[in-house]
Each structure stands twice: as C-alpha cells, then as structure tokens.
C-alpha cells in the first residue's frame, strides 16, 4: 500500500463533486442563460420590455439559487448510483462567516471602484470589474481543487476582463463573454459527463 497523504485524501470529496462534469455543465448553462437574457432584453419591442425586466431578473435569481439543489438532484439520479453516494459537509460557522465577509468585501470593492472611476463611465467600468471578479473566482476554484482547466478558464476570463475594460461596449461585451464562457464551461462539463458515463456503467446491484 502506498504511503498515505492525508491532505490529498481531505481534498478527495471536493474533487468527487466535479468528477462527473455536472457542476460545470450546469454552471455553463447558467452563464449562458444569464448572458442571453440580458442580451435579449433590449432587442424586444418596447411594449414588452417592462414585463420582461419585471420577470426575468427575479427568474434568473431564483434559477441561480436553485442551481445547487438542481445539480444535487441530478447527481442523485446519475452519479450516486454509478460511483457512490456522498453527503458533503456543510461549511462550519467560521467558514460561513468568512464567505459572507468575502462577498461583502467584494461588493464594497466593486462599489468603490465603480463610483471612483471618474475618467470612465460606470457602464464601462462595472462590467470590467465584474469580469475580473468572475475570472478570479474561477481561478480560485482551479487553484483550490488543482484543476488546470479551471485555472485556464479563469486566466482567459481575466484577459477578457482587461479587454472589456478598454472597449466602450461595456455590458454587451460582458454579456457576450458570459455566453461564450458558458458555452466553454458547458462543453467541458458535457465531455466530462460523457467520459464519466462511459467509465462508470450503472451497476445492477448496489452495496
């Protein structure tokens, strides 16, 4: 038996979450829906826009909140019967407070950067800052889980964030970036899911 690396073993449950590609597939679809919804709104006839902007942001927020539960229910049908069931640990009080503090910190930073950008209009600065945050979040996932594909995607998003900061298209560029990143992410997830299904046929008997 090989010597045990307890730190590596501690990372295995979080790696298992990404093993089947479902989280990436779902995240990619979510980004595509978000980007498309914001791009589609302005193209609607004027009479429909009020109703659209009344319903769509709430629907997008609800979809985002439901995404984790949706992914879990898909895992219960697809992943657990093939590769085993795991109930992940809920984040402790300390970790929850840390996550909350990071979210508040990022929101405050975003507000400061956007409001102090005197030389550039808010419409141009805000999408760039959001792109940087998105890129850093993906990069952080990649570093934490040691997944080169996430590090690469995070790097691409950061480069695109710099590009978005230097063009005047602003929100439209950000939304197109979301759609493109969503397509890439969903494709990565789809490929991983296909490989997972091939490698793990559904067993006839459970243990």
């Amino acid at each position: 038996m090989e010597p045990l690396d307890l730190n590596d073993i501690a990372r295995r449950p979080s790696r298992y979450w990404n093993l089947d590609g479902l989280p990436e597939l779902m995240l990619g679809l979510l980004w595509m829906v978000w980007g498309s919804a914001w791009l589609f709104g302005p193209t609607l006839p004027h009479a429909w826009r009020n109703a659209y902007w009344l319903i769509v942001p709430a629907a997008l927020a609800a979809l985002t909140l439901a995404m984790n539960r949706l992914t879990r229910s898909l895992k219960e049908r697809i992943t657990f019967p093939r590769a085993g069931y795991v109930a992940w640990k809920e984040p402790g009080r300390r970790m929850s407070m840390l996550i909350g503090a990071v979210i508040v910190g990022v929101a405050a930073l975003l507000a400061i950067v956007v409001l102090n950008a005197a030389e550039q209009p808010i419409e141009q600065r805000a999408p760039a800052v959001l792109s940087v945050i998105l890129g850093l979040a993906v990069l952080a996932v990649g570093v934490k889980q040691r997944t080169p594909r996430h590090i690469a995607l995070g790097g691409v998003l950061l480069v695109l964030a710099l590009a978005i900061g230097n063009i005047t298209a602003g929100w439209a560029a950000f939304n197109w970036m979301l759609v493109a990143a969503g397509v890439v992410c969903a494709m990565m997830g789809g490929i991983r899911l296909a490989l997972f299904l091939r490698a793990h046929p559904r067993p006839t008997e459970q243990m």
Binding site: L4, P13, G84, Q206, M207
Partner: protein, 96 residues
C-alpha cells in the same frame, strides 16, 4: 513512547477514517472506489472500526436495492484528531 491508536494506525483503516472524516456520510460504493480495497477487505476493516465505535454503519434500502451508509462517529472523529496530533508529534521529534 507515545501510544498510537492501533485501530486507526493500520494503513487501510487510516485511509477509511481519513476519507470518512472529509464527508458527512457516504455509502459503501464510494468508499470502495476511493479506497481501492476489495469488497471483502473493506467489509472486514469497516467491521473492526464499527466494533471500536469509530464508524456508524447503517444498512438501509433505496427502493428494493440495499444501501450501506457509513458515517464517522464522534468517537471516531476524536480518535482521528488524536491520531494526527500524535503522529505529527512523533514525526517532529524524530526529524528534530
């Protein structure tokens, strides 16, 4: 000499306990896949851990299919933490 917990010190059982320490609960299939032990070997080690009160084994059904849910008990978590401290202490002393 510092006394190591013999139940956990065995490599296969240490692996099982370390895997279960990272999750709230898991089933036999996941543990089998992650530990790469054989079914019989895993069952034997789980029985020893259950006898020591470190692992809670719950046999249930999902539909008509039997399912074994495994969870580290409070004693198991404590024993694993103590083991890590002890082994780190031993390693520090021997390297220093």
């Amino acid at each position: 000499m510092t006394e190591l917990d013999r139940v956990i010190h065995e490599p296969a059982r240490l692996l099982i306990v370390a895997l279960l320490a990272g999750v709230r609960e898991a089933d036999f299939l996941w543990l089998l896949r992650e530990s790469k032990l054989s079914k019989g070997n895993l069952s034997n080690h789980l029985a020893k851990l259950a006898d020591a009160g470190y692992v809670d084994v719950e046999k249930t059904y999902k539909g008509k299919i039997p399912l074994t849910i495994l969870k580290l008990t409070k004693e198991g978590k404590g024993a694993f933490e103590r083991y890590k401290k002890t082994i780190n202490g031993v390693l520090t002393r021997t390297s220093g």
